[in-house]
Subunit: 207 residues, 2 copies
């Protein structure tokens, strides 16, 4: 039962969750292996199935947990009051980065859950996931001060163009950094470059 799991050593609990999230973030549900999970978590196979009745139960526990973490973060940290679109995107990028630093595997895990063709999660969870995606979308685009945009283009087109540009910038950065272990000091300079890039976007898309 999950009860037994909840009253566990905090560190062992973390080890198990991390191992499981890691496994499920790298393989789709069917391919994810409970054997690898217990190995990485350094526990016996029996324990995992003592805490969680089935692989499926473990998976649902993880999805619920991941959603909880994300909901928490989004509610607390997203600044919907910022009317400047690009500034809002900046905040969102920072949030994303923070989450990534705090929970490296969480993003990929949720990504896998979304990708899953035949959804392995019960309807209630699926709906929470959907809602989160929806909310994330609207919180980025709603209540923006459109008057700042150049007015030879529809505002929604401008916002799309800005998002795509930022996305492209991010992808390029990730590709460039891939494999590198980046020193703390350098990080700041990456942010500075990013801010400069955002200023370029302002010059292009703002009045």
């Amino acid at each position: 039962m999950v009860k037994a799991f909840e009253t566990l050593d905090e560190s062992k609990k973390k080890r198990i969750i991390d191992a499981a999230i890691h496994e499920f973030s790298e393989h789709p549900y069917e391919q994810a292996s409970t054997n690898r999970i217990v190995k990485e978590a350094r526990i016996g196979k029996g324990m995992l199935f003592h805490y969680f009745e089935t692989k499926q139960a473990l998976y649902e526990y993880l999805v619920d947990r991941a959603l909880r973490v994300m909901e928490e973060l989004y509610v607390h940290y997203i600044d919907v009051s910022e009317p400047d679109f690009i500034e809002r995107m900046k905040g969102s990028a920072k949030l994303k980065m923070d989450v990534y630093r705090l929970h490296p595997d969480l993003f990929n895990f949720i990504g896998q859950v979304v990708l899953e063709k035949e959804s392995k999660i019960p309807k209630a969870l699926a709906e929470r996931l959907e809602k989160m995606q929806q909310d994330g979308m609207t919180s980025l685009f709603k209540g923006v001060d459109l008057s700042k945009f150049r007015d030879d283009l529809p505002a929604d087109e401008v916002m799309k163009l800005i998002s795509w540009s930022i996305e492209g910038y991010g992808n390029e950065l990730v590709a460039k950094l891939d494999g590198q272990t980046f020193v703390e000091l350098e990080v700041d300079s990456y942010w500075d470059d990013f801010y400069a890039f955002l200023d370029v976007l302002k010059r292009i898309y703002y009045k």
Copy 2:
């Protein structure tokens, strides 16, 4: 031996290649199943291993073939003489679409090959693949008439921004069309929209 395979009925040969490419485009090497391949190709298991000694040999044959097709297409159809960057991107998008229409699974297959972590292909093939990616990149960016660009931004930044915008546009379109079977007639209107979008980009990034 491959010899036997080459002298095969053209239609059966195609059935086998298509089935194999399909399988390898949907699963990474290890997960791809020879059983599914022979089933889809409607041949006995024995035949596959009569034509190709091992799964690995089949895989290499397919990679070689895919590279050949792509090299052919790129050489014949890319217009490196077009100095207008956005027009060149337009051509590239059209080419991509044509290839996709002609060989739907080929793109995904090559994608899988590139993704493969521990490369399953011998060095010679890997180098050809690398070269193709390199060439594709340079053929897009080399010899462009930079004087058309607005001059308050470095030319390479402009080109990146344009590429990212087009990529974003494409992704959105694909997401929107996902699952729909699109009628021939509608396709033209999608292209029209795309051309209009390219004009917007010209307005933004050209003098």
